[in-house]
């Protein structure tokens, strides 16, 4: 396959950045997208040019590190997979591919296609945990969990925190990510005691970090490589509403967010 690539190049976080055009030839259709970029980088190194910085780690769709916005869609044209799982046969020979970094105020570009997703860590630190030691795995019947709830919690927990939801959202909103993290804990008994506190603290952090607001456009759901459902967002809205209306003034004594 021969392809024309338009790739965002940016020296560092402060630099202005621009698109550069590259031509790659003789690419196998069975090559993965990231391998294709590796081949391009090899050729750049051979020419004593700076290789293109892009993020990757596991290359098997489980770590959430890879993050490329390809032809107007995060993780490229395929549904339900990360970019590291995508193959070049997904593209037409001779076509042009536009590759950009995730774009959001809260995800600043560090270099080329690499972005800073510390914002997600901060949201988790604000409340995406349970603060008790749960000990060893308990007996299966010790803490009854309805099967459907366990399934929903597992589905929410599939989120790998890649940020495709933010990248896809026209408002750069992090609602799908935050809601998945809220839901996976809120649905299980171990997560209940802190549920009201958690949802308020995480939402407050999300707002503070400058993510946009949800307009129920659902691009996030369409692009999520783990197919996290927008029903999680509704669950979070419900949890948040209930917490605001019903919970006692617990926030004041703890982290003070709200």
């Amino acid at each position: 396959m021969d392809l024309k690539l338009k790739i965002w190049r940016q020296e560092n976080a402060k630099a202005k950045g621009r698109f550069e055009t590259y031509h790659v030839t003789n690419i196998s259709p069975d090559c993965s997208f990231l391998e294709m970029l590796d081949i391009l980088n090899e050729s750049l190194v051979d020419k004593f040019e700076m290789p293109i910085a892009f993020e990757h780690d596991c290359r098997e769709g489980i770590c959430g590190t890879c993050s490329l916005y390809i032809n107007g869609r995060p993780h490229g044209p395929d549904a339900g997979i990360t970019v590291c799982q995508m193959h070049m046969r997904r593209f037409k020979d001779g076509s042009t591919i536009v590759i950009e970094p995730w774009r959001a105020r809260s995800f600043p570009v560090l270099r080329d296609l690499m972005i800073d997703r510390t914002a997600f860590d901060e949201i988790i630190q604000a409340g995406g945990y349970i603060s008790i030691a749960t000990g060893n795995a308990p007996d299966a019947h010790a803490l009854p969990v309805p099967k459907n709830k366990a399934d929903l919690a597992m589905d929410a927990a599939a989120c790998i925190g890649c940020g495709a939801c933010v990248a896809a959202c026209k408002n750069a909103s992090a609602m799908l990510f935050v809601s998945a993290k809220v839901a996976q804990l809120a649905l299980l008994p171990q997560g209940r005691p802190e549920a009201a506190r958690r949802v308020q603290a995480m939402v407050a952090k999300m707002d503070e970090l400058g993510f946009g607001n949800c307009t129920n456009t659902y691009a996030c759901e369409a692009e999520c490589p783990k197919e996290i459902k927008i029903t999680n967002i509704a669950l979070m809205n419900r949890e948040f509403f209930a917490a605001k209306v019903c919970s006692q003034k617990e926030m004041a004594g703890t982290s003070g967010a709200g």
Partner: protein, 226 residues
Amino acid sequence: MSKFLRFSSLTKKIIMAFAGGFLMVFLPVHLGINFFILPITENHQDIFRDAVHFMTTFPLIKVMEIVLIAAFIIHLLYGFILQVQNWVARPVRYKKEGWSHTSFFSKFMIHTGVIITIFLVIHFMNFYFVRLGLTSPPEGPYRVADDHDFYFMAVNLFTNKTYSIVYIVLLVLLGFHLNHAFQSAFQSLGLTHSKYTPYIKAIGDIYSIVVPLGFILIPLYFLIYY
């Protein structure tokens, strides 16, 4: 006031949904009265006038009028604030963007919203402000008896072809706005359920077609028969 602006994103969305929901309840009531502009019964003019009289004088409705105006203002204000925040959240746009599958009309809520607001101002100037004595009633072939004579004010407007056509276009846009708004309000309030959500979506689709269509029938009648 500043607390009102500093509410969290979710609180703003919940308030947006409540305010918008209230407006969606009001629309069919408005439509029900409007139908009597058309000669659907012998004494439709009298019924229309009585209904308008009731709506403008009955104490409980007077209270609802304040709630309604508050809902409009809150919905507009928050819609605007949320949109500005959303633009700011992505300072550098993509070169090639918007290829994801999305709820189509949701992308144009601000645009349809702004156009509807502009029309509402005109609508208020033609009717509501006339009653308050702030503007003069719309001119046309019929003489408007007093500032409560909404029947001839409406007829004067609808006999103007340009007005009727603009009105129809506007209601189509309102339909687009409502189509997203209906199910979106439920989502924002967290009211989703595997059993009920499909019905909510279907009802929303029907609502967003039937209500604007009902309003459109009136200028359509005038365009055909006048």
